[in-house]
Amino acid sequence: MSGGRVITLQIDGRDCGAREEQTILEVARENGIYIPTLCHLNGLHPVGGCRICLVEIAGAPRPLPACVTHPVEGMQVTTDNPELRRQRRLILELMLAEGNHICAVCVVNGHCELQELALQLGVDHLEVPALYPSREVDASHPRFGLDRNRCVLCTRCVRVCGEIEGAHTWDVMGRGLQAMVISDLNQPWGEAESCTGCGKCVQVCPTGALFEKGKSAGEMVKRHLHLPLLTAMRREEEAGE
């Protein structure tokens, strides 16, 4: 990844150098500036859907997601202030209110990115009423399970399956609150012929929506740090051809 112009921008008042094809999130992380994220995952195509990584950019009418916004020469980025904190917190509350996020009975309790984020952003209760959905649980796969009530529609599973595994078993069906991840053409996961059973979707899922069967809460730790390596290896291979 090189070739783009090098530019300078300010993040939280600090001068940062960046290549123009980088995202603000990447530049911030390189400079040790923390921006909370949820749907973003290193190694996957960013989508800017969850809106947790919103940052303020001087001159922009509204905050923009750091994961898909590219730096521009002289740009001034603010990653943290009371207004952003309030917005992120409210967005997270909306997410928590949407599903059944009952940590006490969840297999990833203690290893959950959503739970961690709630703690970080200081969510101690929900200002908005919870919606108590009754979504279908898919336990048809022999090794894995899907509890859609815990899904936050980050689409990491959809992306890892399409972009890395190349199977495109997962996709999203329906609109708005009815949107849900489905395997193949809404077949039970266990009958989805395109699924290779690689389990990458389970490993990248930030919550307990996708889980391994037979693992206790203490054991259900997600592993996705290898993703950037996989993408890097693939890129090298493609370049070598």
Binding site: I102, C112, A118, D124, H125, L126, A130
Partner: protein, 176 residues
């Protein structure tokens, strides 16, 4: 020095939060001289006192009885703390909320029950349509989430009240 009049209340929960309270262990001894436990499932008093300084409520509000109690506590307490996930967010009791009550009772007492069928009719209060977190019913001054909330969170809250510090500045120690 005037001792802080403390009450702890057990609504729809598993009493795990009260266990966490006891988990303060030896710190309880340190705090004891500065506290007066005016009302609690851990002591004998049957009536809620006219006036307390701090009330820790565990559990969700699931019955009209819970609701009345929560309102009474609010009216007679200077500060009200939602203790634990059930009081803060509904937690397990609220998992029933996706079903209506008739469905719920039928599921639990007929479809999944062994032996004699049917929901109990005596000595149990009726259910509210939904199990609610405390702040849907009364104003809450501080939320201590966690299932259970860590003893350390309870210590911090008690200490802050004793020292007259601002409760809103306490960091959250646990979620869920």
């Amino acid at each position: 020095m005037k001792r802080l009049r403390l009450a702890t209340i057990w609504l729809d929960g598993c009493s795990g939060c009260h266990m966490s309270f006891l988990d303060m262990d030896e710190l309880l001894l340190e705090l004891a001289p500065r506290l007066e436990l005016a009302y609690s499932p851990l002591v004998d008093r049957k009536e809620f006192p006219e006036q307390v300084d701090l009330a820790l409520l565990e559990g969700a509000v699931s019955t009209p009885e819970d609701e009345a109690k929560a309102r009474l506590v609010r009216a007679r307490s200077h500060l009200v703390v939602a203790l634990g996930d059930c009081a803060c967010n509904g937690n397990l009791p609220a998992m029933r909320n996706r079903l209506d009550n008739a469905e719920l009772l039928d599921l639990v007492y007929r479809q999944q029950a062994e032996g004699e069928a049917g929901p109990p009719t005596r000595n149990v209060p009726p259910l509210l349509p939904h199990s609610l977190p405390l702040h849907r019913v009364i104003d809450v001054d501080l939320f201590l989430p966690g299932c259970p909330p860590p003893a350390a969170a309870i210590v911090r809250a008690l200490t802050a009240v004793l020292e007259g510090r601002e409760l809103s500045e306490l960091p959250t120690l646990k979620f869920g």
